[in-house]
Amino acid sequence: MPRPELQQITFTVDGREIEAPAGTMLADAAKLGDVDIPVFCYEPKLGAPVGACRMCLVEIEGIPKLQTACSTPVRDGMVVDTESARVKAAQESVVEFLLLNHPLDCPVCDKGGECPLQDISFGWGRGTSRFQEPKRHFQKPVELSPLIAIDRERCILCYRCVRFSQEVSEDYQLVLNERGAATYVGTFDGHPYVAPFSGNIIELCPVGALTSQAYRFRARPWDIEQSGSVCTMCPGQCNISYTVRDDRVMRVLSRDNEDVDDGWLCDRGRFAYQSTYVDERITQPLVREAGELTPVSWDRAIAEASKLLQGSVGQVGALAGGSTSNEEGWLLRRLMTETLESRDFDSRPSGVVSVGLQAALDAPEAQATVPDLEWAHAVLVLDTEPVDDMPVLDLRLRKGVRRNGLRLAVASSRPSSLDPNAELSVRFAPGAGEAFVCALDAAIGGVGDVTGLCQAAGADPEAVGALGRMLREAGEDVVVVWGERLTHGLGDGPARNADNAARALLKLSGRLGLLDGRTGAGLLQVPSGGNSRGLREIGFLPNVAPGFSDPAAVGRGSRQIAQAAIDGEIRALYLLHADPVASFPDRAVWEQALGAASGVIAHAAFLTDGVREHATVVFPSEAGAEKEGTITHPDGRLQRLRPAVRRQGDARPAWQTLTQLLTSLGGESTALTSMMVTSELAEAVPFYAGITHDEIGGFGVRWQDRDAAASFPAGDTGPFTLDAPVAAPAVNGALRLGSFRSVWASPEVEHAPALKFLSPKQRAELNPDDAAERGIRHGQPVRVSAGGAAVHAVAHLRTTSPRGSVFLETGIGARSADVLRDDRDEAGGLPTVSVELVGSEVAAG
């Protein structure tokens, strides 16, 4: 449904004339005229008002009964009184009623000082109570989950948390138990409330009933300061605010930005700050001495690194991880090209897309924004699982479906958590994204061999046909949310099928009119790293110069860098916040590559597998709250990272280290601050021209909305000819291997005490029929193997899992699916694996 157009109307509150968009709820509209109407249950982010707390009763001319301002849309000429005797009496009674059973434990309550109930009692209450009876008692506090404590005596039953669980995150876990004054919030059967977005209810709670276990009793509101920044752990780049006490991050709150996160955070973003202060964190430079990583001085570490690089000029490969800022990427790029004579650097784990296609996919005309998802006629989620890959998008899509009649379609290999909300869910064989896009393109265009392509993709031709019809007929505003993995390619060359997938995606987008610059329609990529888009735009790709211009020479991509290291053509590797062993596909290849290199320089916060085993010089990475710089959101919004606290231990900013290396290797740098690096790169990327920290401000700025966007280079315009895609392997008793990366698979989760319990264990997701054929039951240990490699996992049967495939987690160390990925056939096709039961069950059976 397209965005409604808003008409301005004028109404009167307490004698003040106020202009507001028609249909705005009175409680919000009154604010435009600086009239504050108190509310507890009302929170527009939660959807339609429920009018439960009755705090916002006001008098409206012509209506005999008092009305709830939260649920009354303003109309032209409406006359409202919020200060009449009747209204005052009603407000005082509601406050009195709410305080009847509310304990007076403000002095020891975490919320005290930032509590709406305190504020409203003070502002609108009578100040005395006539209640002499005993208050309601509950056991307190109890664990609602390992992350959240619930104090039911403090609860004023405003429903916000329950509505969040039921209508926003749709995990349907929180309910109200019992009835009347005995009502209490909980889960139906008392199980812990564990869900990806559970922490939001802490912020929603208008009293101290829901408190963060991690923050509980750590600070009082008058001890703390708020410091705004952006979360870099995933491409969602949610706006956050660090709560700082005594130069230490105590908690993370959302910093509502409708264009980015809509005011929600996932639990990883909310609680991972804890990993800033754990002993496992690297806080000083390390150098490998006699096989052991040993703490050294910065001078020594820099000297070692520059010696290593100096001795490998022309033979250095570099990788930048997802949390790399634009500035860091820019400086490493300069280091590589200006002093090390190398173009072998990449910011993607796999696959190289040619520069013209890359530019076409990222063109302003083809770009959809995050809010577009909410208002589109239809959205296709293609080869990505938002809740894992970019969690906050998951909530946005649910909102669109629930509130605006968005028609959602999901096309993926693994069953998606959005399937129940989708009008259509289409499955294809794991890794056959390229073939699927070709099939869908043919179906939309009504040309080509749809059936044959569907067979190659392992998809049902009828379902693909229905999806094509739905997208064609839904309306003009169609958005395709596509996962970067679609273009990760298979082969070793400049990935022929990475380009083919990109061409197919562009071709079908063209058919749907998504490339014409229509507002509200377009493409939105879910990249593999938090700042992938920024790194792409500053040219941190082997075949792309800053601003998507053609580079003088093309270097090696990730896969080729690994191969070149094994072959001895690359001698040194520079890993900027990246550990390919821990998180890239082909773990075995990368282990070999890092082992073969004569030196590995890493910027890392934790000793992940590759760093621990192979790094020769380790520079401590800054934590999110310590970092300064800019990053670019997948929809082109430049956002600013602002340091909230001093760096721990001996950590230094990476931009400083990189500048030092650059100068020590004979390069030139005049940058004295991170901001100066920002200006430097803004000059180099034409469509970033002139952008400053001030302009980015607190909520970021989309470069597409600036004049400089006109200098975006023209990408390939087609017509695109498609090659025959790589077909999904036939399943002859084996299973196709699919993989997914859980939202919880990250070193921050592993090391944050509060989140540790969520750190994933390997599980093999199987269709029950495939499992039955192998004598496997739910929860039994299994061995998934291909060639010589094997992964041990616990069988997890899902009826929705497609037959003929098994899905394993990636990004979880030596048990990761990545162990199996290098076992692919000669032609670079897709791998199959076998799954069998292991352990005592076999003996017993």
Partner: protein, 443 residues
Amino acid sequence: MSTKLLFENIDEPGLHTLDVYRRRGGYAMAEQALAMARDSLVTALKDSGLRGRGGAGFPMGLKASFIPQGKMDKYLVCNADESEPGTFKDRELMQKNPHSLIEGMIIAAYAVGANKAFIFIRGEYVQQAEILEAAIAEAKQAGLLGPNVLGRGVDLDMWVHRGAGAYICGEETGLLDALEGRRGNPRLKPPFPANQGLYQGPTLINNVETLTAIPYILRIGAEAYAGLGVEKSSGTKLISVSGNVKRPGNYEIELGMTGRDIIYGLAGGIEDDREVLLWFPGGSSSPVLTKDDLDTVYAYDELAAAGTMLGSGAIIVVDDRHSVVDVAVKTASFYKHESCGKCTPCREGTSWTTKLLQRIQIGEATPMDLDVISSVCDQIMGNCLCVLGDAMAMPVASMVTKFRPQFEQHLERARSENEARLLAELQTTEPVLLGAGALASQH
């Protein structure tokens, strides 16, 4: 004035079967109605002056006219939750004459263009639910329900849904939530069910008696029906009389009788010929009347003028052997127990009022607490999400106002009894502290 329509053949054996009902002319009105234009049916309902028999007394025809025209999923819901204390008329109707409810629903559904109908029946009515289910099955068999009703090209499916035992599910939007499988909590209005009701579709929701009256209205004609009763309270009404009367039970009356005619006439007067202390004219949520109000005319507007309401038509009579304090505690506790907890004034107010009244009952209060009760009731009235809070506040406030001297007397008596008991306890208990004398004797 004992014109009988709904209760005409109520005690005829086997009336609940299709055969007997048909023999008595059943479903003739459905046949007739389905041949009429929808508009003229709605007009007939408006002209009959039929007002909702569930409690609110909203004109039924007007409500039906709010249902939007056009092709969409529309629903008819019959409110058979009958949860108002003292009300048991719908039970008798459904038990003995289920087919006239089904016939009424066929006509109402046709009039508003609904093709799915639900009867939400309170969980305790097991027997009645089974009778209804059997009657619906019979009607389906006979082509009166299902696809192509009576060969007229209209479809109507009908289901019986049993409630799980909550007063609030008698509130129409709470009922809809419960029917959708949610916790039965009232919804914010607007939107009203006529626009967004069940599954967000236009929904006509009416009480059992209202829907059952429809075939009888058509049979005698809207004008004749409007001629029954008094101005603005036309037709007949089923009333349930209970409490300290000689002949409790359901009676069908023409509106416009006096309270005295009903209590002393139909119901035979007070047990043991005692005096009336108070009576609820329209279920336990109506403000109470006293023996001085017995000559009030029993009709919608007349009762409203007397500061109370006709409600569901349930008259509960309390004689002078009972204490008004006990009645107030009982009434308040019921609503405290049934408050859904969604909105603040009802959740907290009913619980607080009950606690206050219980303190008065055991003599641990002062007359000032009576003022607090009045004030709390005042704070509840008109400030809640639905009318449940008012349903407690109205009768309780009326009792405290009309029987203040009795409350004060009770307080005094209970307090002095407590004091006497305490004193007696003190006198029979061995002294614990012996005072200065004991200390002195130690030396």
